[in-house]
Symmetry: C2
Amino acid sequence: MNDFLSEIEYAGLISRIKRLSDEILYSTRDYYKTVGLDIEPNWHLVFYLLERNGSMTITDISQELRMSHPACVKIIKKMKKKGYVLTKTDDSDSRRQLLQLSDKSKAQLPFFRKHWDAGIKTTEDLIADSPHFVEELKQLELKIDQKSYKDRTLDNLELE
Amino acid sequence: MNDFLSEIEYAGLISRIKRLSDEILYSTRDYYKTVGLDIEPNWHLVFYLLERNGSMTITDISQELRMSHPACVKIIKKMKKKGYVLTKTDDSDSRRQLLQLSDKSKAQLPFFRKHWDAGIKTTEDLIADSPHFVEELKQLELKIDQKSYKDRTLDNLELE
DNA sequence: TATATTTGCGTAACTAGTTACGTAATAAAA
DNA sequence: TTTTATTACGTAACTAGTTACGCAAATATA
């Protein structure tokens, strides 16, 4: 296969994870374009959340997805622009913007779901030969959660 | 742990990989800032390559790292601006820009290496409880390489 | 009740990648 | 030798995330 990132072993592992993630992201966007899905790859999580919960704020979503709120602001802004999300100011707290799916979203959801399901199937196929992957990914998440990559590396620096 | 991305199982797996990758990337940048490393996290691969090979072109690097050449152009541009990389036009082909590490780079490499090694140690620590991770990641890379996420998903769509 | 703190969210400025396009130099083909 | 195709690389415009900052509304405290 002759891959530099693999050759350097642990020094390239993190970059390989990023490379895999990027590759799938761009391939998914390519897929969406091909089949005529007028949405971005990361939006489907917001559709999922709003469909399940009915109404949520930016802060709610950013907590559920564990990403920064400015990232969510950007996503929602685009989804609103395309008419997939509606906002309504909370009566009891004017800071809170209640988000919900528009009728356009609801009408398109079955179509979206068909494609999302095909993607999920792809994910299942991909890790079919990797029976420990999900469990070991979870381990990584847990460890990173307990102590950050930065703090771990600072500790490792002192050991030398 | 109560994590939405984990709850939805395969529908959230790709996003979890991205989340992990992002988290480590930003944590590494934070680390660099803390210890006074005046470089970006992704540069270390270029340092590795140029140190090993002496002189390379943008195209060489993009092939080795398997990323687009415009991405490399951006990285090299910044590295040049900071004085870490020098360019020299190839005598026999004026299109080719031969890149090499500057004296500043060479002088700092031992310092850099100390921190990169600490990071590698962190990676090793992290996957110490995930004995199959590297092998299964490789499997994923191979499968994606054989048939893209897009093509796999198109096939899965037809099956329904 | 007046003041201080927290919360929600919006924006700015940054890095990191992509695809699409253009241009000049080299190589290949007519 | 002239034309055509390929290669190297630079730029533009886009998405996707981050941190840092600001401001107004709500809440807690003095």
